[in-house]
Symmetry: C2
Subunit: 348 residues, 2 copies
Amino acid sequence: MAATMKDLARHTGLGLATISSYFNGGNVREKNRIKIEQAIEELHYEVNEVARGLKTNATHTIGVVIPELNNTFCTEIITGMEDILRSRGYATIVCDCRTDAALEQEAIEFLTRKRVDGIINMPVDPAGSGLREFSKAGKPVILLDRRIQGLDCDCVLVDNRRAVNEAASLLFAQGHRNIGIISGPREIYTASERLKGYADAHKEAGIPVQESLICQGDYTIRGGVSGMISLIRRNPHMTAVIATNYEMTVGMMIAVNELGIRIPDELSLIGFDNLEFARACCPALSIVSQPTMEMAKETASLMLARLGVEGEASSGPEVKYLRTRLIGGRSVSGPLPGAEERKAVGGL
Amino acid sequence: MAATMKDLARHTGLGLATISSYFNGGNVREKNRIKIEQAIEELHYEVNEVARGLKTNATHTIGVVIPELNNTFCTEIITGMEDILRSRGYATIVCDCRTDAALEQEAIEFLTRKRVDGIINMPVDPAGSGLREFSKAGKPVILLDRRIQGLDCDCVLVDNRRAVNEAASLLFAQGHRNIGIISGPREIYTASERLKGYADAHKEAGIPVQESLICQGDYTIRGGVSGMISLIRRNPHMTAVIATNYEMTVGMMIAVNELGIRIPDELSLIGFDNLEFARACCPALSIVSQPTMEMAKETASLMLARLGVEGEASSGPEVKYLRTRLIGGRSVSGPLPGAEERKAVGGL
DNA sequence: ATGAAAGCGCTAACAA
DNA sequence: TTGTTAGCGCTTTCAT
C-alpha cells in the first residue's frame, strides 16, 4: 500500500495537521520541513487526491464531452485545453460519445458520479437534457462550438454564418453562379449556421438559392464522398463546391480524385479546417480555417474563472464569438468569363 | 449539495447498509427496493465515486499518457480504448505530454496522485523512470507502440521493422534502386525499428544502404516537409521515398506539391497511416497502414484482464505483436527498366 | 434482510 | 507553530 500522511506523521514524530499544513502552504518550522521532505522521499509518498477530493468536495478534474475524439477539430481544441488545465492542476476526463445523444447523456451522468468540478461540452443533443441537472448543482458548464437553446451558460462559438458567407461570396466574386454546398445535419447548430451563411451570400449577390445545389451531409468522410458525387450528378453546370467541415472536405477530395476531376479547371473547391491537409492537397485547397487554439484558450480561461482559479467570472453567462479565416489555396479558379457559358463537369 | 446515501436512508427509513447493498447487488426486499428507487428519483441521487474510491481503493479510472493528442495515430487508438473501457465502467484521463520526457514524468506522478487503477503509456522517455514506481505499487502498466528496456510489463506493439521492409521491398521489386527514407528520431523505438526494416530490405535485395538517402526526421509535419526537400536536393538520382509516420507523410506531400513534382512519374512515394488521407491525395498514396483498432482492443483487453475485470491475466508480462498492411495507391511507378533486368536475374 | 459502527486518507476547526 | 479531533460519503464487518 502507498504511504499516507499518517505514515509521514509517525515517521517524523509530528502531528497529522502539521503534515497537512506542509502540503497546503501553511507555516512549518524549517527543521520540520526538512524532516517531512526526507520522509516523503523515503516513503515515496504521493498525496491521495481521492481522499482530498472527498474532504474538499473538489476533484480538480474537468469532464470534456465531445461527439468524436477521432476528429482533428475536436482534438486540436482538447489538446490546447488540456495543456492549460493541467498546468493549473486540473485533469481532464474526455468522453467521446460517438455523436450519440444517449451516450452523451450517459457520459454526463458518469462524470457527475465522478464528481468532476466542471463540464466542457460540444453538445450532440440539442436539448442538453443531461447538462441541466449538473448545472443546477452549481457546477460550471461551458458549451463549446454549439449552442443549446434555453441553457444559460458560458459559450465559446465561432462565427460560422459569416465564415461560409465569406467563402461563397469569394466564389461569387470570381464569377461562379452555381455553387454547391455539402452541408451538415440540420439539427446541429454549426451546420444550420453555415447553411444560413450560404443563403446570406446568395441574397447579397442577388442570386436565388437552388435546392439541388444543397447536399445534406452528415459531417463524416463517407458522407462527404457520397455528397460530392450526388452533387456532381445532379448539377452539370455547377462550377464550385463548398464542404462545411473537415471530414466532408476529405470526402470531397476523395471523390474528385476518384472521379478524376481536374481542380480548379473543372471545379473550384473550398474546404474547412486543417490547414496542413489543405496544403497537402494538390492543388492546395482553399479553406475556412477555424481558430482552434483560441477556442481552447477561451474555453479553458472561462472554466478557470468559473472555478475561481484565475481571472474574474462575470455574473451572467458569457458568450465568446471567434472569427474564422479564409485561407487561399489554388483550388478556386480565377475570374470566369461568365456564368451562363459554363460547360458541364466531366467525369460522369 | 448533492444527495448522499444518508439522505436516502433517512428518506426511506432504512439503514445505510441496506442502501449500500442495494447499489452493490445485494439482496433487498422488494418493497424496500421500490422505496429506495423512489428516493433516488426524488433526490436526484448519484453515487459519489470519490467516496467509493477512497473506501475501496479503486477509482475505476485509467490514465493514458501519450506524446501528442493531436495525432491521428494516437487518437484512433485512444478512441477505441476509451470506448471499451468506458463500457466497462472505467474512465480514462488522457495526458498529452507534448513529446517531452519531463512532462511525461509529471503526468505519471499526477496520475499516481489521482490514484488511477492503471496506466497505459506510449512512452517518450526510453528509460520509463516514472512508470517503475507506479508499477512497483502493484498497479498495471501497459506499454503502447513502444518498448522500454528493462521494464517488464505488458506491451502492444506493431511489427514496424517488417512494415518498412515490405514497403522498401515493394519499391525494389518495381525497379527502384535509390530509395530515400524520412526516418524518425533515433531514440524512439518505432523509428529505429522502421529504419532497421529499411536496412533489412536493402540487405535482402543485395543493395548497399546510402547514408545520403536517409533523412533523420522528427515525426512532425514540418520535419516531413524539410526532410523531403533536403532529400530531393541531396539525391538527384533518387526515384522513391518512404515517409515513416503520418505527420511526416503529410509533410512529404506538402513538399512535393509545393515543389511541383509529379507523382509517380518523377518520384514514387509510400506513406504511413491514415488511409483516408491517402485516398484524398492525388494520386492516391500507397501507405503502410497500422492496425489502430486492434491495438486499441488488445490494449484495453490486457488492461481489463490485469484489473481482474474480464479475461485471464497471464502470470508474466505479455507482448502482443500486430501486423501492418501495405495498401496500394497510385503513387508508386510501375516496373522500371531496371526491374525487368532484376526479374530476369532473380527468376521472378 | 437489515442496522450499527468503524474506518478509508485527508482537511480544518479548535486547543494548546 | 503544532497536536487533537471530527467528519467528508462510502463499504464492510458484525450483530440482530
